[in-house]
Symmetry: C2
């Protein structure tokens, strides 16, 4: 394969599941593919001990899965460069895209952005310690609730995701305590009602503590309690639990795109949902950093493949970029 004049057919920014899935497909398509990764392949998934919701693996460790995805893309000659942080994209007059890194500059015919998102952290003692060990701190109820069957967990947050995920936890855990720093939820009314109704119907199962923040997660080897602080009374409490779920938001890794690619107010990359085209012709997006992302491993992977399939249209005919979505994506039912 090799590269000519440092021009790649496809540069992929981020070697998480979306980026590696895209690389597998572009490389199989014999496109000269370079994957640039700031840290190491995998991203968030490296923090996950056990994955039960990636279809095809009843149970697999995050690092294991990512190594397979990496090997698979490399089998078809995708080049993966770690320690390479993309800092800027520039659309050139000839239609190509200049990808600036901390060290080098590259030119690509198309770019697929897969920088992912990070869970927003509390930044309190114990949070990192028990997360990395898979010892009881999680940021995804949909992913990890089943591991807490019959146990006691503490959930933290007050937005839509926090309430949805808390209700999800209730399906598995024996007791769920939701902490919210304010005295009112900011989640949508329907969700707040559903939560309160659930609480009423299931006495003692769901406890809500308003105006309460966690200040430390504690335990020997695994989570055993959370130290709570009531913001009004300043009272402290050691609150026993087996797990802590932190639902205080996602931070898409898109700061480097400000000014070049259109982002939403919360920093997600705007893109059409059929072909994943962003606002810069030739630049696609896939995975957890795009608007509407379902934030699941399988959807990130599906996105990566979808973007990799779509780029053929653009490479063949750049004016395809401006084609609006077919009306077939708008059934009259809604």
């Amino acid at each position: 394969m090799g590269q000519s004049n440092n021009i790649y057919d496809c540069i992929i920014a981020g070697a998480g599941p979306a980026g590696l899935a895209a690389a597998l497909y572009t490389a199989r398509d014999r496109l000269n593919t370079l994957v640039l990764e700031k840290f190491m392949p995998g991203g968030q998934i490296n923090n996950t001990d056990r994955i039960e919701n990636y279809p095809g693996y009843v149970n697999i460790g995050g690092p294991d899965l990512i190594m397979k995805m990496k090997e698979q893309a490399e089998n078809f000659d995708a080049e993966i460069r770690t320690g390479a942080e993309v800092t800027k994209l520039t659309k050139l007059q000839d239609g190509n895209i200049e990808v600036s890194c901390n060290k080098d500059k590259y030119i690509a015919k198309v770019v697929i952005l897969t920088p992912g998102s990070d869970y927003r952290k509390l930044g309190i003692p114990g949070e990192d310690e028990f997360r990395n060990a898979g010892a009881g701190v999680s940021y995804c109820g949909t992913c990890d609730a089943p591991f807490f069957k019959g146990k006691q967990v503490v959930a933290i947050g007050g937005g839509n995701t926090a309430l949805e995920e808390t209700l999800h936890l209730c399906k598995y855990a024996d007791k769920v305590t939701l902490l919210h720093r304010r005295d009112e939820f900011r989640a949508t009314k329907v969700l707040v009602e559903e939560l309160l109704e659930y609480q009423k119907k299931n006495e003692g199962k769901l406890i809500i503590k308003y105006s309460t923040i966690p200040i430390a997660i504690e335990g020997q080897g695994k989570v055993q309690s959370v130290k709570l602080k009531n913001k009004k009374t300043e009272e402290l409490e050691d609150y026993p639990c087996d797990g802590v779920f932190i639902f205080i938001g996602m931070v898409p890794n898109t700061g480097f795109l400000k000014g070049s690619i259109e982002l939403t107010d919360t920093g997600f990359i705007r893109a059409d949902c059929a072909y994943l085209r962003t606002s810069m012709p030739g630049v696609f997006v896939a995975g957890d950093c795009r608007v509407g992302a379902a934030m699941q491993l399988a959807t990130a992977v599906g996105d990566g493949v979808c973007a990799a399939m779509a780029i053929k249209n653009y490479l063949r005919n750049p004016s395809w970029w401006n084609e609006p979505l077919s009306e077939e994506y708008q059934p009259t039912g809604w």
Copy 2:
């Protein structure tokens, strides 16, 4: 889990990759989930010996992969019923959906349609024999081209997919012969030009036979030749090759939906691409039968998860169904 009054939270029509991925997620969400499957779990994937493009498996057999997906969904109490062909969907006055089968009727709060698509077949001797054995007949160049590195293959078709896939085969096979029954391709002009240009630049690598049809695929245990017929001269020819790729279209398994769900002219299910909502409130779609499907295993799986995540919005608030897509799905770049 069990069911009350025969009402399921979620009925999934089709136990291929999209359906099983959806079932895994709805079942993990503790929704009472029933998967109805006409034949056996897996669909098309059962015909695939070796899959190299499902991220996470460097190489796996189709039946193996599907058994894992099935086990995984069943682990969370999804109920899979085979021999159950969905024949009709009816929206009831109370908002639920009646799902009629060849044998029974069921009621569901939401339905996810995952009936898949079949490759259109030539219907000639040898086609089934060598396909099921994985012995040289394929319907997907993107999937199987790498298995024919250095070999000689025959491709059949004249539409966009046929030309794209033929160009893809050229990246792997030593020699590709494209058969087209007419004397002109119906593919888009850009693609035809690209194909002819490729042919000119790579002498002897790509052979195009117009007005030619295959009438039999022959060989001992594996494909060794195709019997060709020139439609103008009626001349017959035994044409040696190692593989046959048939690109004459896809037939979505959506006949049973005519009159109840909006379909495209070619029978695919119309749906918005963010939430996969069809024209019937409460009925979602995922996988190869929806408009815009990329027809890949990973995208079908991603679709299934996406639909399963989206149904929560509808279950919580049915009027969500009519919400148009956010403008964030329309960056100004295109």
